[in-house]
Structures are given as structure tokens and as C-alpha cells.
Symmetry: C2
Subunit: 767 residues, 2 copies
């Protein structure tokens, strides 16, 4: 870790260019709008090390699985996020010499990700020779207002010479994923052409027939005046460009505007693809760069208005939390229920796939509290749409009924291929059920539950019913051979979290069925009919609930992570020589497995999810036992610990954990940000502030706040929507202040009931 970014409340700023950090910056300064995203690659040629990356949401490729030793049940294909047509590219020649930051002298380099207004800006001075200096300023964004539109403004000002400028503005669709298993290209040629100042490339995936049509217009201005120069078109396979010649006049600025429409056959009929691109592009060109940029600022203003968090007195923390919120809003906006939140969002292609249990466990609360219901609801609809595939997946693994959701997926089919995860990390099914509860409990809106959720719950419950086994001698149900959230244990028996979330799913499903039966009897008849739900099934679920086995340690009165956990050599992470850390880079897998060390919250994940079930002493005993053995080597770990530490009043621990999550990518803690940012764990950071320091919980549909402010902060504030209410919550050293901009809400603050009328603001001192 070697922080190099300047602290700033609204921007990420890099003030000099270091080729060694370039790929990290390419990730951090990424832009996206939910439909597409773009790493912070340079527009002009860069011959140094770089991960060129453009990504289109929902466009993927089924790459053939690579494996050492095949196991029955592995998927044949791994759905991968596709790196796609480069639409930002410019080749700049000055007096015949190409501008390449890797080769020319660069000064005054500044790169800025303006989070408030949603654009990337870069300025530098380049000396092709000592007497041939130019100032460059490049600005770009992908529009939050017009999702298919990206725009670039690229300004060149020669300050000590007159010369000749050649510009090649291109679209390059001949792109390869860096993580292709067999070094294969996934895109093939469909069509391309160039004419006047426009260029067009349509490419098609070799399988599944995804089509991406990119259409671009390039305009050249000098000192605000459009130049009437004709372009020379250029075409080759999967490539099209327009070439311009212009004079460079000392002190005069040449501006290149690139407008690109990127449309896919996910959104448009194949035969109308080009037409759709043309319509989008025409509209954008008519507006022009400045208006588009104003619309972008407006769109982001609205996003910030819904989701901003302010931290006073800790600029570094302020920047960190805004960066996380910014990236979440760039990645997913809930407009399209076929999409989800990939672990790298649009910032890289590692891990492939788009959907992990991260979505339900970490991301859902953010979208629930900062967007309208539809955004969060679409995350649930996504899983409902995949229910058929989840049932197929269960059948493939030998189950007679029920649904088993994949560990990693793009289209509902499993993509992962490690048996201990793919087949055994079954707790993910519980998180998907829990999300339905979470959504309903938070929003008070039962429409998803009634329309779709109940179906998902019943099918997941059927999976659990078949997955448990009854041990006659002991008179209990057990779940053997699983991997819990702590992936540093594999193929264990009776992981407490898995047993509990399985049983909880059955409890909740029965509760939901009872609710529908009494409140919506006609609907109940329809569902039991279409699901062919039998009484002996629900009776069996009750029996499992009653006789589920939970491993416990009686002396310490803690839940046991799994059977026989106490047989391990128990020690705390801080007893370990630091040279061993992180253990996942220093220890062989067997050593990790037989050690007591915990990758991420496991028992504690259960105490977090089902928080209201457990008293504070139970939480404390378990936290005190497990946290010291936890190495937090998953980016998803610190947030859960931070939230629980807040609840337990462990202020220092909570802040320590918060720091590990908030600036993970900005400070490149895990030394892997060059592969992309850790998008899903960013939602965990948001949770650390709102649920942790803000102490926000929804218990039986009622909103609670129990704030705890870190010593390092003067104050912090956040915004949440809760049912009809829109709350602005401000916490300082003395008090918590809540303002309500919309419908009345009843909330509990430090266990004290408060009624917030519309437009009212109340302050309550800390106890």
C-alpha cells in the first residue's frame, strides 16, 4: 500500500503520472452509468502497461471452463464479462510524430475523477521536443441521462510552435479479454464503415449472438470554431476510423469532440440496431458536449441528493465513502432487471460473472435506502427470473426438487468450478431468501412477496428440506459437507450459519404462507396449486425447524462455527508473526483449512443478518470469540464486524474495521486494484456508516437509530428513504438530528420513540 491520491471531498485526484500506478488508476478513475463503463485508459496511444477496458452491462461470453481435474457437476462454461469495442480511442500525430505518454516528456499531469458531476478529466503538458510543447485537456463521461451515449472532449494547445496535426479517431472492436481461459477472442466481425465524420463498428459474439453497435461522430474545433475539414475514412475488420488533418497554431486550442452511441441487441431488435445508434447519436450531437455535460451534472446531483454521506473532520474518510457511493451508483441503477452488480462492476474483468451472494448480502441495503423501491425490487426480480435455472441446477446436482441458486452467474447458470464452493457453499440460497425478507421488512411493500417472492421461498425451502439429513440416533437434522461464508473452511459438517439460515428460511417461508393464507386466501389457493405445495412438505419443514441441530460450545456459550471447531489449535491473529499475513498469500491451502483463522464473518454473519434474534450478550460473546481469529482477507469482512462492533460499543474496533473497508481501492490495500475496484464491498462500507455508526435497523418494520460517532469524526450525516419518509440524519458529538422531507415516520432513536412529521427536524442528545 502506497497512497498516492490527493485527499479531496468531491474528487479523486492524481497529481503526477507514474506508469507503475497507471493500471491502478485506470481502475479507480473508471466511469460508468449502469449500461456501460470504461476504465480510465488514455484516449491517445499509450504503449506502456495498461488494461484497456470497455464493458457493456449484460453482454457476456460463455468461455469454456478450464480445470485441472474434472468433477461431475462442473459447468461446461464460465460466463465472463466481455471487454468490448474501444470507443474513446484517438491517435494524435504532431508533425508526423505520435503522441504517446510512454515516450514523450510529460509535466503538470493531473487526473481527476469529478464525483459530484460524474466526469473524468485529465490535463498535462507534453513535450515532443523541447521546442514543441502542447497542453492537453481531456474530459469524458458516459451519460447518466442518455445511457447509450459517451462523450469525449480532447483539447490540444501548442504553446511554443506552429505545426501540423493529424488525428485518427477510431472505434476498435477487435478486443480480447485478458482473462480468456484459452487465449481466444470472443468477438467476431459483423459490419463496419466510415463516412464523412462518422465511423461505425458492429461486432457479434462467437456464441450467444450478442451484438454491439458503436457509432461515433468526431468534430474538430479551433478556439471554439468548428473547422470545415474533410475526414479520410478507414475501415478494416472490426475497426473503423476517420482521419483529419489540421494546422496547429501557437496559443490556439484545437478541440476534438467524440460522441459515441453504444447500443446492443439486448435493448434493440437486431435489424434496428444501427438505426437505434443513429437516433441516439443524432440526439447527442444536436445537444453538443456542453449540454450533455450539464445534463450529466444534473443527473448526478439527483443521485447525490438521494445517497450522499457527509463526514466532517476526516477528509480521508469523506473521500472514501463518496468514492464508494459514486462507484455503486455508476454500476447499478435498477433500470433493468436482467442486470446485477458484478464484483468489479465496469472497472475490470476479473472473476467473470456478474452476480454473487454479495448482491443480496451487501448491496441490497444500499439500494433499498437510497433509491426508489423499484431499484431494489429489480435485484429480487433478477433472481426470480433465474428460478427456472436454479431448479435445473438443483436437478443437475441430484436433487429431486427445489431450487439451488448458482455461486456465480450471469444468466442464471452456474459459472464457478471449485467443488468446495460451487457445490458446497450452499448458504447463498439463504441469502437470496433473506433478501426477500429484507426488502419486505424495509419497504413494507408486499407486492414482490405476493407476486414472485413466495415462489422463490418455497423452492429454496424445498432445497433445504432435501439437503438436510436426519440422524436417527440423535433425533436431529444436520447439514453435512458444506462451506460456510468463511471460505477458509471447506466441506465441514453443521456450519452454524448454514444450519441457521436454512432453518430461518423454512420459518420465514411458513410465516409468509400463513400470511398469504389469512390475508389473501384466493392468492394462497393459486400459489399452492401452481407450486403443488403439499401439507406433508410444510409439516416436514416444521419438523426440521423443531429438530435442527446447532453446534454450540457450552462452556463459552457460543455458537460453534461448525462441528469440532474447538479441536483446532485456537489462537488470535495478533499472536501470529506478521510475516504470515495475509495467510492466503503465504500459507498452503491445507494449512489455512486446519488453522482456526477465519476469512470473513461466518457465525457473525448470522448475528448480522438475524440481528433481532439475539440478545446483546450473545452477540458480545460470539464477537469476542471469533473476531480475534478473523483475518478479514475478504473485502466483505470488515463491514460486518464494524457494524457489530458499533452495536457492542467497541468504538475503536468499529473504526479500525471501517478504515479497512472505506479506502480499500483508493489506497490499494489488497494490492490488486489494478484488476478493478471491489464494487460489491463498497456497499458494505455504506452499511458500516449507516447501519454501523448510524445504528440504523429495521425491526419488524420499524426504523431504529442507535448512533455511535467515532472519535476521529466531528460529525457525519446520511440520507435514507424509508417507506414514505425521506430522512436526513446528522450525528455529531452531542446529538443526533433527523429531518424528514416527506411522509411522516415513526422511528426509535436510542430506543426512544419519535414521530417525525413531514418537514420536521428533531434532535436528541446521545445517552
Amino acid at each position: 500500500m502506497n497512497p498516492y491520491l490527493k485527499e479531496n471531498s468531491w474528487s479523486i485526484i492524481e497529481e503526477s503520472f507514474d506508469p507503475k500506478k497507471h493500471e491502478i488508476s485506470e481502475s479507480v478513475f473508471s466511469i460508468g452509468n449502469g449500461h456501460m463503463g470504461q476504465r480510465a485508459n488514455f484516449e491517445e496511444t499509450y504503449s506502456g502497461k495498461s488494461l484497456q477496458g470497455s464493458y457493456m452491462a449484460g453482454v457476456y461470453y460463455p468461455d469454456k471452463t478450464r480445470v485441472g481435474w474434472w468433477k461431475n457437476g462442473y459447468p461446461e462454461y464460465f460466463a465472463k464479462v466481455l471487454n468490448s469495442t474501444n470507443w474513446i480511442g484517438l491517435r494524435i500525430y504532431i508533425d508526423g510524430e505520435e503522441l504517446d505518454i510512454n515516450k514523450v516528456k510529460i509535466t503538470n499531469f493531473v487526473r481527476e475523477l469529478n464525483m459530484r458531476e460524474g466526469f473524468l478529466k485529465r490535463k498535462f503538458t507534453a513535450y515532443l521536443h523541447e521546442d514543441k510543447g502542447i497542453d492537453i485537456e481531456a474530459v469524458r463521461f458516459v451519460s447518466a441521462a442518455d445511457k447509450e451515449i459517451g462523450a469525449v472532449s480532447y483539447q490540444i494547445t501548442p504553446f511554443n510552435f506552429n505545426g501540423n496535426l493529424e488525428i485518427c479517431s477510431y472505434l476498435d472492436g477487435d478486443i480480447k479479454n485478458t482473462d480468456a481461459n484459452y487465449d481466444e477472442k470472443f468477438w467476431e466481425e459483423a459490419a463496419q464503415n466510415a463516412f464523412a465524420n462518422r465511423a461505425h463498428v458492429t461486432v457479434r459474439t462467437k456464441k450467444l449472438n450478442f451484438q454491439l453497435c458503436s457509432l461515433m461522430e468526431t468534430q474538430i474545433y479551433r478556439d471554439g470554431e468548428k473547422l470545415r475539414i474533410s475526414a479520410v475514412p478507414e475501415e478494416s475488420s472490426k475497426y473503423a476510423a476517420v482521419n483529419f488533418h489540421a494546422d496547429l497554431i501557437q496559443g490556439k486550442t484545437v478541440t476534438i469532440y467524440k460522441y459515441a452511441a453504444n447500443v446492443t441487441n439486448r435493448d434493440h431488435e437486431e435489424s434496428l440496431l444501427y438505426q437505434a445508434a443513429e437516433e441516439a447519436l443524432d440526439k447527442a450531437v444536436t445537444k453538443g458536449f456542453n449540454l450533455l455535460k450539464e445534463e450529466q451534472a444534473e443527473a448526478w446531483k439527483k443521485k447525490w441528493n438521494d445517497s450522499d454521506i457527509v463526514i466532517d473532520g476526516d477528509l480521508s474518510a469523506q473521500q472514501g465513502i463518496r468514492f464508494n457511493i459514486f462507484q455503486l451508483n455508476q454500476t447499478y441503477n435498477g433500470e433493468d432487471a436482467r442486470l446485477n452488480i458484478g464484483p468489479k462492476g465496469f472497472t475490470g474483468e476479473k472473476y467473470g460473472g456478474s452476480t454473487y451472494w454479495d448482491t443480496e448480502a451487501y448491496c441490497l441495503p444500499f439500494y433499498l435506502a437510497t433509491s426508489d423501491n423499484q431499484t431494489a425490487r429489480n435485484l429480487l426480480v433478477y433472481r426470480h427470473n433465474h428460478l427456472g435455472k436454479a431448479k435445473e441446477n438443483a436437478a443437475k446436482l441430484g436433487f429431486e426438487k427445489g431450487a439451488f441458486y448458482p455461486m456465480v452467474t450471469m444468466n442464471g447458470e452456474e459459472s464457478h468450478n471449485e467443488w468446495e464452493i460451487t457445490f458446497e457453499e450452499i448458504h447463498r440460497n439463504g441469502a437470496i431468501a433473506h433478501a426477500i425478507y429484507n426488502f419486505t421488512n424495509y419497504t413494507g411493500n408486499t407486492s414482490y412477496l405476493l407476486d414472485k417472492g413466495v415462489e422463490v421461498l418455497v423452492e429454496i425451502s424445498r432445497f433445504w428440506e432435501e439437503r438436510v439429513n436426519f440422524v436417527t440416533d440423535k433425533g436431529v437434522y444436520m447439514i453435512l459437507g458444506v462451506t460456510g461464508p468463511n471460505e477458509y473452511e471447506n466441506n465441514v459438517n453443521n456450519n452454524w450459519y448454514t444450519n441457521r439460515i436454512a432453518s430461518w428460511t423454512l420459518e420465514y417461508t411458513l410465516e409468509v404462507l400463513e400470511f398469504i393464507k389469512s390475508e389473501h386466501p384466493q392468492l394462497y389457493r393459486e400459489w399452492t396449486g401452481s407450486l403443488a405445495l403439499k401439507e406433508k412438505e410444510t409439516e416436514k419443514w416444521k419438523d426440521i425447524i423443531n429438530r435442527m441441530y446447532y453446534p454450540i460450545e457450552e462452556k463459552k456459550e457460543i455458537f460453534l462455527q461448525q462441528d469440532n471447531f474447538m479441536d483446532k489449535e485456537l489462537m488470535h491473529v495478533n499472536e501470529l508473526d506478521q510475516k504470515h499475513l495475509p495467510i492466503n498469500q503465504n500459507w498452503s491451502w491445507d494449512r489455512i483449512l486446519r488453522s482456526c483463522f477465519i476469512k470473513q464473518a461466518d457465525v457473525l454473519q448470522g448475528l448480522h443478518f438475524l440481528n433481532h434474534e439475539f440478545d446483546i450478550y450473545t452477540k458480545k460473546r460470539n464477537f469476542d470469540f471469533y473476531e480475534p481469529m478473523t483475518v478479514h482477507e475478504s473485502s466483505l469482512s470488515p463491514c460486518v464486524h464494524s457494524i457489530l462492533a458499533c452495536e457492542l460499543g467497541y468504538k475503536e474496533k468499529a473504526y479500525e474495521m471501517y478504515l479497512r473497508t472505506a479506502r480499500l481501492d483508493l489506497d490499494n490495500y489488497n494490492n490488486d486494484t489494478e484488476d478493478g475496484c471491489h464494487i460489491t464491498s463498497m456497499a458494505g462500507t455504506w452499511m458500516s456508516v449507516v447501519q454501523g455508526f448510524g445504528g440504523m435497523k429495521v425491526i419488524k418494520g420499524v426504523l431504529h437509530f442507535n448512533p455511535l460517532i467515532p472519535d476521529q469524526w466531528d460529525a457525519f450525516s446520511f440520507k435514507v428513504v424509508f417507506r414514505g419518509a425521506r430522512l436526513f440524519v446528522h450525528v455529531d458529538k452531542e446529538q443526533i438530528t433527523i429531518a424528514n422531507e416527506a411522509d411522516a415516520a415513526e422511528v426509535f432513536v436510542n430506543s426512544e420513540k419519535v414521530v417525525l412529521e413531514p418537514g420536521r427536524k428533531i434532535s436528541i442528545s446521545h445517552r
Copy 2:
């Protein structure tokens, strides 16, 4: 399974040609001599499906590991048996048309593997056209007398026409392994040339610089008379050939003799390689084909004299056991301590590597009882030679001391890459220790133990010392996170077999150290010095022995395969619908893991290895509990069960298990013989007869026989050497007869002590 081979006591015979079975036959009819081996590919062109395979012992390639998800500790390379220069090849053209069994009409096809004399013979009639018929007879062998020599006799007799014959006799070194991870060729060109009637190809591996020099002479005869025809040489990269033209005269036989020397830089200096090949070839050519073949028969006569087993009244069983003995003798002869016994021998390349724990657990007893001590001793020396690498392997996985032998190896380095096996199947270390005990106990020869064995034992003991962990609360040592011999359980705690073999290793090591201390005090001082053996180490070992934890089931009084085994849903294999079998082809891996079903002997492996430690009732209780849950989906499983069943008097079960091992490849039980034969399990078949039905055991250096003859057999007999004695043991329905050809021996027959003077024969009735 669809048996197509003719039953015969001394030969394997296929009486018609079926392209679908050709690859199976290529495996079954393989020939080998410990130095090299050759699948039963056709000499002439065959354009149908075939696995062309020539293999040179000890010549391997470090193929880059292929893996889905990398784990720390995985080896970078997988040492693979190398498919190498094809030296048998002939291209035969008759009147310009190539002879290709895939394309011409074939009748009277007979393929015979003559096991008594060690050669492969093939006869058939081919019709290129109706009026153009030829009889072909091809005989070949790799010499057991001159290990570098292979010879082919190929006879062509036109019986209804005169014509023109073109012969291309070639060496082709441009060979690719079918199991290459990245479809790469491993051999590169070194040298080749052709001249007069000789051709030469030397190839070199891309890594490790193995060199194989093949030199061949081709002679053409007609009706016993050598033809004076000049050859046309042909050379290209990694290829050399000589081409002949001759007349075909109706009724006259043209015979092509191919003599090939295959020498490697494992046995000769690189600069003298060609010269070594020339010397070997000159000698062979001088002898001529017929004399070489007589020497071959003589060499095999000696082998059979030492190791034959005769079964009367069951031709199928007779053929099966001879086939197994034949293949074992083809694969390993103990002349070279750098070699070992690959799971496919010279019959295929699947699984790569050459050495598994199969060698110690299954193969050693065969070589102990049928060869001089040196053969078995060299199998132990092999592991001693790899001790340094085993220590490196332990260090790589984080151990501070001790030796951890690899799961699969060629040169001592680990080749395997599945964490649950590579890192966790640690019981293999115990088998390597046990082999030292077995050798010493059987031969009475302590020289290996004193010279080298003690060093291996101490280093393995040190590994166990570090691998156990002490559970303070319970006051016991445990071994967590292992895979036992039953690979259908992964990452379990306290696998009984592993705990027992670990503790046994410590016990035996201490016993050996005590023995050396009292009998060879000077040597003891030397060893404790060079090993830096400390008293606190041996004290720790004693503590581990005293406080090792063994899982047991108290009610049933059985050893528990591992902790919590009884929590599984226990059922017998015969309760399973047959459509599920074999489960490794029908079930996903997680389902296999959480089921009770057992791949191969696990607890029972311990009762087999440490047989004398347990009373008959203990064996019975455990056998009765575990065997019905065992699916025997490893070729190594049935033999151990057959031996124990014999001891328990379960005659039917013993015979059933014997059948599953004896004709595994001949009847292609596992539907995979096309990949090669299951060489190591063949030694298990031998054990089933000698240790099972013969009831042979060596208890504290004393030989015991407790025979049990299957109802299906009239009689059976086998030969064993035991210390100075050479015993011929014959068992019929009434009695057991033992004849001794050498030094006196005291043996127990059905617990009755018998002294066998040299040249004496005794008979004892069954009880």
C-alpha cells in the same frame, strides 16, 4: 463390459478385428521389458482410431500445470510419462496401394499375446482387391535379455497374384502426448539420418534434456533368403526412414525384419549415445531375429519359474492371474533404482507421473515374494533417493522439519494438483514407512534399514510430529484436515487410518532406533549425529503414541473412519438403485462426499497393513460394517477386501472380490482400458491369491499359511521366495502341499509349525 478375448491359460487371444475394441486391445496386448514398452499398435498404417504409444522408462516431461483456481502450494509442473519415438512403423504399398487395415477387407484376424514366451503375434488375410489377397504375420517383442532392443518380424505372402511391393521402414520421433495440458509437443529435433538399410533419429525433450537415440536396421528376405536390394534413405525433422522395392511372387513369403535399439542419456553419456545404440544394434543384428526370440523365451521362462500361479478348474481365473503377473514383470524388474511402477506402466499415458503409494501398498509384496531382495530393495532406495525432495516438499507446505513424500511423482517432486489430495492425503507417508517394515520383516535383511531406512523413518516421524495438534481440553493428539485412502471423503478430521499409521510410524521408528542402539551402537551414534536427533523429539513421539486420539463407535465396537462418520445417512450399496452406480460417474462430488459410500478400503486398509495388531473379532466387526458401504470404485479396493474376507472365512465374498480385480482389464470392467492397463492393481490380484486364498502372512519374521480354496477352483499353486527358501505351494480341496527347493524354512500351516528341509515336500489336510 463385453468380453471378447478368448480364454487360454498362457495367451491372450483376439480372434477377429473390431475397430471399436482396437484401443482396448492396444492396451491389453502391450509389451514391455522394464526399460521400454510399446502399445499393441499395428506396424503398418492404420487410419482408424488408435492411441499410438511407445514409452521409455524414466523419460518424462514437466508439463505446465493446468488448473481452474490456483491454490498456494500447487506444483508448477506435472511430470508426465513421455510418449516417444515410434520404432515399429512400416508403410506397406502393394502395386502402389497402401495397406491400411481401416480401409481394406480383413479376414482371419488373430492377435495373440504369448505370455509364456513374451511376444506379440498377429495374423490376418488382407484383400486389397478380390484377386489381390495377402497373408500377413507380424511378431514383435522388446527383449527381456537385451533391454534396449526391440525386434519385429513382418511377413507378407501374396496367395493369388504377383505384384510390386514398396516398403517404408521408419522411425518417427515427432510424437505428441495425448494428455498434454496445452496441446504442446514435448520433443524437439536433435539429429536424424538414414543410410544403407539403417535409420537413426535422436530427439531431445524441450526441458530437462532427456535424449532418446533410436537406431534401426531393416532387412528383407524372401522365403528365407536375404534380398540384395538397395534402400532409398529419407530424412526429415525428427524422422528417418529407408524405402525398399521388391517383387511379390505368388505363394512366396517376404519377411521384413526390423531391429531397433532405443538408448537414452539416462544410461549413456550424451556424446556416446549414438555409439551405444550402434553397439546394441550390431549385437542384435548379429544374433538375428530367431535367436533373439529364443533368448526372450528363455528370459521369460525364468520369470515364470519365479512367479507363476496355477489355477486348476477355472481357465478364466488362470488367464487373469497370469496376465497380471505378466504385466507386472513387463513393467518393473528392479534393475534401476531410479525407476518405479506407473499406474499404467508402459500401456498408456493417463495419470502421468510414475509413482503413487500404490507401489508401497500393493506392488512391494509381489516383488518381495517373486524376485531377489534387490528388486524390492530398489523400490525402497527410490524413496530414499527422493528424501531431499520430500523434505523440500514439507518445507514448501510450511513445515519446519520432516519429510512429506509427494502423492504423484517422477523425480521426487509433487506433480498432483488437487488440494484435497496433494496436500491432505498425507497417509501416503505412512505407507512409505510401512514398506520399510514390510521389507525388513519379510526378508530378515536389515541392511536397508540400517543404511537408509532409518533416515527415512526419522524424517517421516518428524513430519507426523509437526502435523498432529494437541487438544488441551481433551488431552489428546489429533490430525485435522486430511483425506484418507477413501478419497470419497475430503478434508476430514481424525481419519482413523491416518491417525493409526502415523502413530504406528512413530512406534516403529522408536523400535528401530532402540534396535540400532542396542545392536549397532556405533551406527546409532552416527545416525543420531547426522540426523541431529534429539531426545526431546523421541520423547514427543512417545507422548503422541500414548495420547493419540482414535475415533471409535462404542456401541458397535468399531473404529470410526473419521470423526462424525455416524452422522451420515448410513446405508448399504445394495440398497442403492443400480442406476446410480458407479457413483463417481453419476453423482456430483458433494453428494459423494456427504454420502456414506466408500471408494476403497480405509479402516480396512489399516486392518490389512497392521493385520497382526487386531484380533479376528475386531476385523470381523469392522469388515461387516464397512464392506457393505464400499463401492470399490478404485481398482485397488477389491484385493484388500478379498484378503480380509479369506481371513474371515467369507469364501463367497472373497471370490466375488477376487473376480473384480483379476480380469479388470481383460474384461474392461471399468470401461477405461483403452487408456492403458491398471498395472499397480495387478499386484493386488497377486496378493488376493497368495495372501488371500493362500493365507500367507509373515508375523514377526515367521511365515504362515492359512489357505482357503474357492469352490470354483479345483486347485491352485504359487511360488514364493522367503529368505533362503524357495517354496512351491499347492492347495487343493483336501490339502495344502509345500515343496521347498532351497534353504530350510520353518513355517506355520494352519497355525501348525512345520519345518521344511531343502528339497522336502509336505502335505497337510485342511482343517
